[in-house]
């Protein structure tokens, strides 16, 4: 089995248009959530979200590219560029033939569905642009990354709702660890912040109208976000040999299915995924100092997650830090695990723990150290990243400092 290094990272989300900007704003506990701005927002009950700000796609992509790139693909390509450039890898020959891209998204080109349904249903048009299908398909982003960077190996998109990115990154990790590929591009993205995308979530009655306050007793639901984060996973020995800068090492993962309810999370399912990741990474519970929580800010998730962590870690649960950065960037749904892996990298690389902001009132059912409101400095060797999806599909990743 090969060791697996992260040798590149890139992002665009409501906290920043790069990893550096995102790290600075996570460390400052900045809130990227604010009033939503798009067509017909006045017809929504939920009017807040973690939107990517100051982003004009026409300054990045030409007209022909934009006719094929949904906003989710735009985000993905921007994050991929940053990650691949940081890694310094140019894909050619045998390396290109074996390197692929595995990404997560829950909705794919949601705005493209939304815009074109409007055209045919609301405006009564009988004709849509010829590229609607290649623009909205869930694998569009992965395919455009593969075309842009000559990635000719195993490439596909994973869609497991809120765990999509973690499932995707686990797949890519497994490919590099097993030796199938020396380098994989992975991560995830989401862009559901349009009228139909938010309206659908409103229906579930789990959304907050004012803020995402994970683990706080007065929390009142989740807040959507958007964006992408992309990572380069590389055979660690080969990365060292070529003198690459290694951001962190991925050391294990586990996946589980609750097999119980389509929306309610299960403590057992979450605990099995966390425990499985420890086992896969050959860790003792005491080795883990930080967990980036799934921490959606809903009553159901937060207490189930805390109970699962308490179960797996026993007394050590009181010594570890568990924060939810969704309080800052919102819930990126299928892209969320990717952006949240950044918080784990910041913890193990820079020793800065991103806080859970908006924390106002202790909840006895979430009585763990949630790093409330202010980032903290701490030496962290090992961090976990949790993702628990609708449908009961869970995936947990483990990373270590190098």
């Amino acid at each position: 089995m090969n060791r697996v290094a992260i040798t590149g990272s890139g992002t665009i989300n409501s906290l920043g248009h790069s990893v550096e900007e995102t790290f600075v704003n996570m460390a400052e506990g900045l809130c990227g959530i604010g009033p939503l701005s798009f067509r017909d927002v006045d017809r929504l009950d939920i009017k807040i979200g973690g939107q990517v700000k100051d982003f004009d796609p026409t300054t990045v992509f030409n007209r022909q590219q934009l006719s094929l790139y949904d906003r989710v693909t735009q985000f993905t390509l921007i994050a991929a560029k940053e990650a691949i450039e940081q890694s310094g890898i140019v894909f050619s020959g045998e390396l290109a033939a074996k390197s692929g891209v595995v990404l997560g998204t829950a909705g794919g080109g949601v705005s493209t569905w939304d815009d074109n349904y409007r055209a045919v249903y609301e405006e009564g048009k009988n004709r849509v642009h010829p590229f609607v299908v290649p623009k909205l398909m869930n694998n569009a982003a992965a395919s455009h990354v593969s075309m842009e960077y000559n990635l000719k190996g195993p490439s596909f998109t994973v869609s497991t709702a809120c765990a999509s990115s973690n499932h995707a990154m686990a797949q890519a990790f497994q490919m590099v660890r097993s030796g199938l590929s020396d380098v994989m591009v992975t991560g995830g993205s989401e862009s559901m912040l349009c009228f139909g995308g938010v309206k659908a979530w409103e229906g579930l009655r789990v959304m907050s109208k004012d803020a995402c306050r994970p683990f706080s007793a007065n929390r009142n639901g989740m807040v959507q976000g958007e964006g992408a984060a992309i990572f380069i996973l590389e055979n660690l020995d080969k990365a060292k040999k070529r003198g690459a800068v290694i951001l962190a090492e991925v050391i294990g993962y586990a996946m589980s299915s609750d097999a119980s309810d389509i929306v309610m999370p299960s403590k057992q399912g979450a605990a099995r995924a966390i425990k499985g990741a420890l086992l896969d990474a050959r860790l003792n519970p005491e080795d883990v100092k930080y967990i980036n929580a799934h921490g959606t800010g809903t009553a159901a998730n937060d207490k189930t997650e805390c109970a699962a962590v308490a179960d797996v870690f026993g007394r050590h649960a009181d010594n570890l830090m568990l924060s939810s950065t969704k309080s800052m960037h919102g819930h990126l749904i299928g892209g969320t695990g990717a952006v949240e892996l950044l918080a784990c990298i910041m913890a193990v690389k820079d020793g800065i723990i991103a806080p859970t902001i908006g924390y106002e009132e202790a909840d006895p059912e979430c009585a763990l150290d949630v790093v409330p409101n202010q980032a903290r400095e701490a030496e962290v060797d090992v961090a976990l990243s949790n993702a628990f999806a609708f449908g009961g599909l869970n995936a947990v990743l483990a990373v270590r400092s190098v």
């Binding site: 006719s67 004709r127 642009h129 010829p130 590229f131």
Partner: protein, 85 residues
């Protein structure tokens, strides 16, 4: 604006050329318009003239609509516009 000039404008935009570089004798191939560019052009023409072009991308040569040159495209569109109810 006459139909020919408007069609040339649409094709030129698709080919990222000036309209003066598109002649009646030009073929889509000579202008660098590929199969994706072709369906996009047909969409733009349908939108502009509010017509339905009988074109099957699976087998363009089998379509009733002749796309062998700009002039054949223009005459096809003139016919469709004239037949509009």
């Amino acid at each position: 604006m006459d139909i020919g000039a408007k069609v040339i404008d649409i094709i030129a935009e698709q080919a990222i050329l000036e309209p003066c570089d598109v002649t009646l004798e030009s073929t889509l191939e000579s202008l660098g318009i590929d199969s994706m560019g072709l369906v996009e052009s047909i969409f733009a023409i349908e939108e502009a003239f509010d017509i339905q072009i009988p074109f099957n991308a699976n087998d363009p040569s089998d379509s009733e609509f002749n796309i062998s040159s700009i002039s054949s495209i223009i005459s096809g569109i003139e016919k469709l516009v004239a037949e509009k109810p």
